[in-house]
């Protein structure tokens, strides 16, 4: 089977298996083994099966021979193959037009060869898109469940399912407490006792399965509506999981916070969706065939970067026309025929576009979508929920922070990249930069091991956003994937530590290296990976490659746009701080002497079911960045699906002035690359060294430093006072308004109603008198008459059943006889 | 944990008014375990009253005992609980020994443990198999008898008899073990051990079996004590009494140094219950299922004891000791001793006047008291539950009627 048919089936099934698992556990969870123990097996098997299918999909993607689009490439081979695939109905490669359509826009094969001589980057990448099921179709709007598959989809599937599998296995061990009745010492009942409740083991895996299903749904989604659906599903799942210990006040608050903060972002996203739909009438990424009309509908990517425009970005006709609605109204005022009007509008669209109609709409759409990503990926200013989300069980943190929820935002920006204008990209870059800096600084002072990791996640997400914002599409997504591995590793390690120490506080740890070697060493690998350790130009851990790519791109960006050099500073500085706090964490936890004997004495290595995932993830944290021969590395795989038209340097005059988004491959150029690599190495080394002298060989006392810079320290310990700020700005005014409205309700409306009620009562008493005297009188009269008649008639009733039968028979015979006598003719005849 | 009336499943609702019926179950009914006659007053299928009528097997054993010497009466004890004759022999022997203040040799002591515990296994096997039969499944019965046959084979080697052994006598045994017997006994135990799992599969965990036994015939600990129930019936209600541990010193001395835990539910757990099927959710302490389960556990417990006694016995040197002379005079006085037999506590009482022949002999049988509680347990249950309840009491009519 060709990849075009195979991939949607494989990934579709891989996507749905967790749903099956969810439903199964939902209905039969409590009956799966003792205390629902089998739920873990079901969920793990499901996600394992998904992993297997994803791996098969990856292999089939690779085997399908999609071109490596690094420097020089030739599309012909792949195009022909996708052409073959395109023949089957219902499956529609985005790069391909139907034969009926080909005269208009040209066959992609010919198209690619036609332009291959020039800049060489203009043909669209291979991707497959299509619909499984149309949820709703009305007018132009078609909401469907569909797929858009390119190499990132496949890669993300593998990454998500792999990490989720590891986490499932790990959680089966981690959550074993839930297998029995749990006494939650953190929840005090009114009686002063701890809460005693039933274990919710199966509930956990139920939510986990739904979570995986939702995330995979985002990854495979073929249109923005579907993305939005699963976006919200991910949100609700995170609500379930963060609030898993919902009896704890902190947990329920954190769950609500995550949910509400995300809603803020999602509101922006809705605006973006509306803008796109209003202007373009479609939310599909790729081209698709409408099942209703059978015609090809152009997808968003094609509309924004049309092939005839060499995939360069332009404001789509629809948006232009949407923005120029008043002009069109004017045209329509002269009552032209419909087709004439359409022709007229089409003719004047290029002119309007020149005048800048629709530019803002596209900007709003991009920013709107990005708003959603800000919420989900915890960017400034909506990052406050993520550290609180640590209230969930650690496997959840690992999942939320590595492969699923937060990755969704970055993934969406990556997926939506072709539509984003340079202005939007600049906003993204600055948001990312700000995020990475703020989060990194907060992480420096945090003492809760999970919080450090949480802020490091926020910071790394900032990195990714920044990378995408400065045009480093591959760099950003590459970092997303490598980060997924080492961050899940780090979280699981921290979970292992917490499992052993029963505390989150790093100040009580130390010296755990001896008792938990597996955890310590795998965590060290994670730390090295996240700071991008490696021997420059030779070999490194996965983070080394992805971080270098980001640095290089940021450097290139700041060279081409000197006014935005601050971004590069943020990146470099961020790298330094990252190295510092990560090794601070590691040193505090594992190195040195135990700080708390009690904790140390009880610490022990975690069971095999928890360490095996650690080792597996550690291996990937090391090798995920390596480029294999034959273009099999993650980076080159991502490169295969680079959106058309983003490979070259573009300069546009945008809202924020002229902006040059440099081509990514230029960052591989010698000078830039060397500088970036050396900077990265130096900053990381410096960070590690500083952490070393402060926490490993305490040459500098951290306390002294904190004392010396007390205002800054306080500021950082209080997390930049962001939560307090939000409380002041949003929560207090809302409460005030509510109080005011409540006062109106009680003072004005209630009184009015009371008056009404009093009046009604008076009227009713009059009515009651009439009812009693007149109406009842008539009815009683009738009743009395009936009663009298009944008294007379009751003598007929003997109550003897057999006698009644006799009566009936006599009656029947009599009627027959009478009828025969009287109407003899009619009966006989 | 008292359930409210509305939810109580055991409250039987009438929907049809029917006439009362008086039904005779037995003395020749397939499920009355011998010649027991139960008179049921039923309302449809619901038993409103049950009355056991006994005496069909009465043979004046106690009176005969007053005309025989102590050793001569041993064969009559065989015929009381004929399924556990060794235990009967032991009870009588120990009672007489108590009167004589006689202590058997160490070797005889271990041999006695070995023999009676083996007989306990055999007795419980019959009880278990027959209980399956009562509930309408025939196969477990034959599986149980298959294993019991092997025990009987071993006994045959020891004393020549397969049912009425008269092996344990006052002062020791009639004979020592034949050569190689211990190995054969061990071989049997090794072979038997995995088979217990089979019984659990066929009965203990069988859904229908559980449905038929759980919450049926619930005997509260108080009532069990009030009615004088003993043995597995008592322990099935959660009362922690076992004469092997709590009995008189002459009896408990026999088990000195043996490690065993009384098979009774404490704090919601049976000893070593992780090795056995979990208690089903429906079962409440004191119902038929628990009585049955206690017997199953005691089989395992007895196997352990047999293994221990084999070790000890084989390490003992010296002779078994001499049994009481056939017509040896008994000192004047009276004595009463209860021992823990498979069915419960079996007590023997004798009054002597200095002659070899006791002046009075009486036996207190466990089945008698256990059966006495059946009217209470069967009130309000269905006819089908009557065999289930009576079978779970595991009575032997020979013991009741004597």
């Amino acid at each position: 089977m060709a990849a075009a048919q195979l991939l949607p089936i494989l990934l579709g099934i891989a996507w749905l298996i967790p749903l099956v698992s969810f439903v199964a556990i939902l209905f039969f969870g409590p009956r799966m083994g003792a205390h629902g123990k089998g739920a873990a097996t079901v969920a793990t098997t499901a996600i394992g099966a998904s992993l297997l299918l994803s791996l098969i999909a990856l292999v089939s993607w690779t085997l399908a021979g999609h071109p490596v689009r690094s420097e020089h490439h030739d599309d012909n081979h792949a195009s022909i193959q996708s052409h073959d695939a395109g023949q089957s109905p219902g499956i529609w490669p985005a790069s391909h037009r139907s034969p009926a359509h080909s005269d208009a826009v040209g066959d992609s094969a010919g198209h690619a060869s036609g332009h291959a001589s020039g800049h060489g980057e203009v043909s669209a990448p291979i991707s497959y898109s299509g619909d499984w099921y149309t949820l709703y179709a009305s007018g132009a709007l078609r909401l469907s469940i569909g797929w858009y598959i390119d190499s990132i989809t496949v890669l993300m599937f593998v990454v998500v399912t792999f990490i989720a599998t590891c986490i499932h296995v790990y959680a089966a061990g981690y959550m074993h407490d839930e297998l029995h009745d749990v006494t939650d010492s953190e929840v005090q009942l009114e009686t002063g006792e701890s809460l005693h409740r039933e274990g919710r083991f199966h509930r956990f895996f139920q939510a986990l399965s739904l979570f995986c299903f939702s995330m995979l749904g985002i990854v495979i989604a073929g249109n923005l509506a579907m993305v939005f659906i699963f976006w919200e599903l991910v949100g609700i799942c995170s609500w379930f999981l963060i609030g898993f210990y919902f009896e704890r006040h902190s947990a329920s608050t954190a769950a609500n916070k995550a949910f509400i903060v995300n809603r803020v972002g999602d509101f922006g996203m809705l605006i973006g969706l509306m803008a796109l739909w209003g202007g373009l009438g479609t939310l599909h990424f790729g081209d698709s065939v409408s099942s209703a009309t059978g015609q090809v509908e152009q997808g968003l990517f094609e509309l924004v970067r049309p092939a005839e425009n060499h995939h360069e970005q332009q404001v789509p006709d629809g948006l232009v026309a949407f923005a120029a609605a008043d002009q069109i109204e004017k045209m329509a005022a002269s009552n032209p025929s419909r087709s004439e009007l359409r022709r007229k509008v089409a003719a004047s669209v290029p002119g309007w576009r020149e005048q800048g109609y629709g530019k803002w709409l596209l900007f709003v759409a991009g920013i709107g979508i990005f708003c959603g990503c800000v919420g989900k990926s915890a960017q400034v200013p909506l990052f406050v929920w993520l550290p609180d989300a640590m209230e969930g069980p650690t496997p959840v943190s690992a999942l939320v922070h590595s492969a699923t929820m937060v990755a969704a935002g970055v993934y969406l920006v990556g997926r939506f990249f072709p539509v984003l204008t340079p202005d939007v990209l600049l906003v993204i870059a600055y948001t990312g930069g700000l995020t990475l800096f703020i989060a990194a600084t907060i992480a420096v002072t945090a003492t809760d091991i999970k919080r450090v990791l949480a802020y490091s996640t926020v910071s790394q997400l900032g990195y990714m956003m920044l990378a995408l914002g400065v045009g480093g599409w591959v760099a950003g997504l590459f970092h997303l994937i490598t980060h997924a591995f080492f961050k899940s590793l780090l979280f699981l390690c921290s979970g292992s530590v917490i499992h052993a120490c029963h505390t989150n506080d790093m100040r009580k740890m130390g010296g755990l290296l001896k008792v938990m070697p597996y955890t310590a060493w795998t965590m060290l690998i994670g730390c090295l990976a996240i700071i991008g350790a490696g021997v420059p130009f030779v070999l490194g851990l996965s983070g080394y490659y992805s971080k270098d790519a980001i640095l290089a791109q940021a450097l290139l960006f700041s060279r081409t746009n000197p006014q935005h050099s601050i971004l590069y500073v943020a990146v470099a500085g961020g790298a330094f701080i990252t190295a510092f706090y990560m090794f601070r964490l590691w040193f505090m936890t594992f190195a040195g002497a135990p700080r708390d004997e009690h904790v140390f004495k009880h610490a022990h290595e975690s069971p095999r079911v928890m360490t095996v995932p650690l080792v597996a993830l550690a291996i990937f944290a090391v090798v995920a960045g390596w480029a294999l021969p034959g273009g099999l590395g993650v980076e080159s795989l991502i490169e295969q699906s680079r959106p058309a038209g983003t490979a070259e340097t573009t300069t546009t005059a945008g809202i924020f002035g002229t902006l040059t988004v440099p081509a990514e491959h230029e960052s591989h150029a010698g000078a830039i690359h060397v500088t970036a690599t050396l900077t990265a190495f130096a900053t990381a080394l410096a960070g590690v060294l500083l952490a070393g002298v402060m926490y490993f060989k305490p040459l500098i006392s951290p306390v002294a430093v904190a004392h010396a810079a007390r205002p800054i320290y306080t500021f950082l310990v209080n997390r930049w006072y962001v939560d307090e700020l939000y409380h002041g700005i949003f929560v207090l005014p809302t409460l005030g308004a509510a109080r005011f409205i409540s006062a109106i309700d009680t003072q004005v409306i209630d009184r009015f109603i009371n008056v009404l009620a009093w009046t009604a009562k008076r009227v009713a008493s009059v009515d009651a008198w009439f009812d009693r005297v007149v109406v009842d009188g008539i009815v009683n009269l009738a009743g009395r008459a009936t009663w009298k008649a009944g008294l007379e008639l009751k003598r007929m009733q003997t109550g003897n059943l057999r006698q009644y039968v006799m009566f009936i028979v006599v009656g029947t015979v009599a009627i027959f006889v009478l009828a025969t006598l009287l109407f003899r003719t009619s009966v006989a005849g | 944990m008292v359930q409210t009336l509305d939810e109580d499943q055991r409250i039987i609702e009438f929907d049809v008014r029917t006439d009362e019926m008086l039904v005779n179950m037995g003395p020749q009914h397939p499920s009355t375990h011998g010649v027991l006659r139960l008179v049921l007053r039923t309302d449809g299928e619901i038993v409103s009253e049950l009355e056991p009528h006994i005496g069909y097997l009465h043979r004046c054993a106690e009176k005969i005992g007053e005309n025989l010497t102590a050793r001569q009466w041993i064969p009559y004890t065989d015929r009381m609980d004929y399924l556990a004759a060794m235990n009967m022999n032991l009870g009588w022997s120990l009672a007489v020994e108590k009167l004589l203040r006689y202590q058997v040799s160490e070797k005889a002591r271990h041999l006695r443990v070995l023999i009676v515990e083996l007989n306990r296994i055999a007795s419980h096997l019959v009880g278990m198999g027959a209980y399956g039969l009562d509930l309408g499944t025939f196969s477990p019965f034959l599986y149980a008898f298959r294993e019991r046959e092997k025990i009987l084979d071993l006994y045959e080697e020891v004393c020549g008899a397969r049912l009425t052994y008269s092996y344990i006598t006052v002062g020791g045994m009639t004979a020592d073990l034949p050569p190689g017997w211990l190995q054969r006994c061990e071989a049997f135990l090794d072979q038997f051990e995995p088979i217990i799992q089979e019984y659990h599969t066929l009965l203990t965990t069988n859904a229908i079996f559980v449905k038929r036994t759980a919450t049926i015939g619930v005997l509260s600990p108080e009532m069990a004590i009030d009615y004088g129930c003993t043995g597995p019936v008592l322990r099935g209600s959660g009362v922690d009494i076992d004469l092997r541990r709590d009995g008189e010193s002459i009896y408990t001395a026999m088990y000195d140094g043996y490690a065993f835990e009384v098979a009774v539910m404490k704090n919601g757990h049976y000893p070593r219950d992780h090795e056995y099927p979990a208690v089903p959710k429906d079962a409440v302490l004191g119902d038929c299922w628990h009585r049955f389960f206690v017997r199953m556990l005691e089989v395992v417990q007895s196997m352990d004891l047999v293994r221990q006694s084999i070790d000890r016995y084989s390490q003992c040197k010296g002779a078994l000791g001499e049994p009481l002379k056939l017509a040896e005079k008994l000192p004047a006085g009276d004595t009463y001793l209860e021992t823990e037999c498979p069915k419960g506590q079996m007590g023997f009482y004798l009054v002597t006047d200095g002659t070899p022949i006791p002046w009075r002999v009486r036996a207190r049988s466990s089945s008698f008291s256990n059966l006495a509680v059946s009217p209470e347990l069967c009130r309000g249950c269905l006819i089908a539950d009557v065999p289930a309840v009576v079978g779970s009491l595991d009575v032997v009519m020979g013991e009741i009627d004597r």
């Binding site: 003598r795 007929m796 109550g799 003897n800 059943l801 057999r802 039968v805 028979v809 | 049809v16 008014r17």
Partner: protein
Amino acid sequence: MMLALLGVASVSHYLVVGAIMFCCGVVCMAVKRNALGVLMGIELVLNGANLNFVAFGSNYLAADGRSPLGLDGEVMALFVILLAAAEAAVALAITLNFYNNHATVDVDRADDLHG
């Protein structure tokens, strides 16, 4: 004698059988004091009526091969059977209730509704 058996099965014959059953049912209802007997009488009556329906609905019995009622007869018979079953259920329930309250099934004692 055997020749005499020829051609006896006509609609009229069915009707006669039905009439006999009907009358037996009526008598049963009239003379049985046992409520269950009355019930059985009702069953007989319904059955007699049913026989008529089937007879009129049968093409096989019709002189010209086309029955007066056609399929309607069978449908009616089916309905009667169903309703008879329902009637039996309700009547039994009533009888049981009566028995619960009066400890008898004698319909002559069921005269609480007399005037």
